[in-house]
């Protein structure tokens, strides 16, 4: 086949330009920024090269708080959302009636605006002088005293954030798991039925191994997504996350970049690279674990 080099590059030119300027160049630049000490974005000068930015953020209590919050959020939401998504997907796959309706409803949160719906969660959990909020009324039925989940104690806030995060990430997981379950070859089930295998055994010995690649894909993307949590927290607690003690690593990056405490792209870069290293490490561990357990 003839080679039409010039024409092909012409077709690719727009995307190469966009990707080059807004992805490849920034990727290199972020490493450079992170080692430039005392960089001033207004004047474009810096004093020296070194690891000061890293040592600064690693001593910054706001950053440490953000790291702690992010890790807690990841540890709570990833296993919980994956397990719950699996439960719902299995239930969904076992029914015929109303299945499409349920699927459509379950996916709805995926398309909605995280910030807008987050406000609804906020009023559901918030306790004001006028009203304890619906959640506290429900808790009151079980004899619990009202808690302010939005401006109250740390663990109450973490609880709402986790609940909302799970609510937001479930649609994607349910969708992917349901289609994985649908693609399992029926003959395995038929064979197991003939042998009179109990249902639980069918699930652990056939279904789980068959969908394990998808499950691990979801766990890996779930970890990555949860480490980048940010807008859910903004939706619930407002933009001033440091005051609310609910900042996340990504939130810290943006605060360093812009906002009341902003103007420090070097610190932001260092934080972004720390986040990247954390995510990369966790992903590698996940991949190593999955090599041992996933059946392909």
């Amino acid at each position: 086949m003839e080679k039409n080099n010039l024409k092909a590059w012409l077709y690719l030119l727009p995307s190469i330009l966009f990707l080059g300027v807004f992805m490849v160049y920034p990727l290199i630049d972020v490493f450079i920024y992170s080692f430039e000490e005392g960089y001033n974005s207004a004047s474009g000068i810096f004093f020296g090269v070194g690891t000061y930015n890293y040592s600064y953020i690693l001593r910054d209590p706001y950053f440490l708080q953000a790291v702690k919050n992010t890790f807690i959020l990841v540890i709570i939401t990833v296993p919980l959302s994956t397990a719950f998504a699996l439960l719902i997907s299995v239930a969904l796959s076992s029914v015929k009636k109303l299945r499409e309706l349920f699927e459509t409803i379950f996916f709805l949160p995926y398309v909605t605006n995280t910030l807008a719906v987050g406000l609804v969660f906020m009023i559901l959990f918030k306790s004001t002088p006028y009203s304890d909020g619906l959640m506290n009324v429900i808790l009151g039925v079980f004899g619990m005293s009202p808690i302010d989940f939005i401006d109250g104690p740390y663990w109450a806030k973490m609880l709402v954030l986790s609940v909302y995060t799970v609510w937001v990430v479930l649609p994607f997981k349910i969708l992917i798991l349901t289609s994985a379950l649908a693609s399992v070859n029926r003959t395995y089930y038929d064979a197991a039925m003939v042998d009179g295998t109990p249902k639980w055994r069918i699930f652990t010995k056939i279904t789980l191994p068959m969908i394990s690649p998808t499950l691990f894909y979801l766990i890996i993307t779930g970890f990555i997504g949860a480490f980048k949590a940010y807008s859910d927290a903004v939706a619930l607690f407002g933009t001033n996350l440091n005051v609310a003690e609910m900042n996340t690593i990504v939130g810290y990056i943006y605060d360093m970049l812009y906002g009341n405490s902003g103007g420090y792209p070097s610190f932001a870069s260092a934080a972004a690279i720390v986040l990247f290293v954390i995510v990369l490490t966790i992903t590698c561990i996940n991949l190593l674990v999955s090599k041992k357990h996933v059946h392909y």
């Binding site: 080099n5 727009p14 990707l19 160049y25 239930a91 076992s94 406000l119 619906l134 407002g238 986040l275």
Partner: protein, 289 residues
């Protein structure tokens, strides 16, 4: 013997029934959990300010729905401007994205050129780059170009989506080669082949990536928040945040919920029309944008 068989059968049937009831109970429970916030936002938005604040225990329904919150929210905060900005941003970004994506996907699927495989691998590896890493430099770039608080500044870094190039390339590659050769024999140019043959065949995928991009644009928050601090350029996500923090005062929750309903409705309508396409597109490997 016969009797025993009947018994076992009855027992299994009863067991199946219980499983079924439990299954539907679980599905129904989660459907309720998903829909309830939407119900609550609509309900709250039609309660009057005084009615809402007099309910120490919130009521699950209202007998005197009112539209006053919708009127108020449009009158007191520039919600209409936020919506207009978001529509402009979404339309322009999506149009440019589709154009750039179609061209690149065509080159990768159909044209032969030196370095194709290497370039495609580079493109694919860019899919793994987290937004957080590149957004810092983009912010500095846009600031240096004096493009803060402009549509250009909002749009430019939001255009590229390697994933959509990949998705469309896969679809283009499925179209049989014979069509291309036939068109070549007839003297059709590549451009004509792309617009008159390939695009009509692959229309479903183009529509899917368009819808996914529209959703992504409508919901985008982080980049708009960084590059706009002038409320005249706020998109809905930033608008809703501004409303929450200063616009209506924290206490006027019914009006806030009216705003939430207004900015959620367009996407929900889009979803109800295209839910099959959206779910299919996402399950082919999408991640939240």
């Amino acid at each position: 013997m016969e009797n025993n068989f009947d018994k076992i059968q009855k027992k299994t049937k009863a067991k199946e029934k219980i499983t079924k009831v439990l299954t539907y109970a679980l599905l129904g429970f989660w459907a309720l959990m998903v829909l309830f916030p939407f119900y609550w936002m609509i309900l709250t938005s039609v309660k009057s300010y005084s009615a809402y604040n007099s309910e120490y225990i919130p009521k699950f329904f209202t007998l005197s729905p009112t539209m006053e919150n919708y009127v108020n929210v449009f009158a007191e905060v520039p919600l209409a401007d936020y919506l207009f900005n978001t529509v402009v941003f979404t339309v322009i970004t999506t149009v440019i994205m589709v154009f750039v994506t179609v061209l690149a996907a065509f080159a990768f699927a159909r044209l032969e050129f030196r370095g194709k495989n290497i370039l495609f691998t580079i493109f694919l590896s860019l899919m793994m780059i987290p937004n957080e890493l590149v957004i810092i430099t983009n912010f500095v770039t846009i600031t240096n170009w004096d493009l803060r608080n402009t549509f250009t500044g909002l749009i430019l870094p939001s255009v590229t989506s390697v994933f959509y190039i990949y998705l469309l390339r896969e679809n283009f590659a499925q179209v049989p080669d014979e069509l291309y050769y036939a068109a070549k024999v007839d003297g059709t140019s590549d451009w004509k082949y792309l617009t008159k043959v390939l695009l009509p065949i692959c229309k479903p995928t183009v529509i899917t990536i368009t819808i996914l991009k529209v959703i992504e644009c409508w919901n985008s928050y982080v980049w708009p928040r960084l590059v706009t601090d002038d409320a005249a350029y706020f998109l809905v996500s930033n608008g809703i945040q501004a409303i929450r923090e200063s616009g209506l005062g924290r206490e006027n929750i019914p009006a806030m919920m009216a705003a939430v309903v207004v900015i959620s409705v367009p996407l929900i309508v889009l979803y109800l029309i295209f839910h099959k396409k959206i779910m299919e597109g996402v399950s082919r490997g999408g991640t939240k944008g």
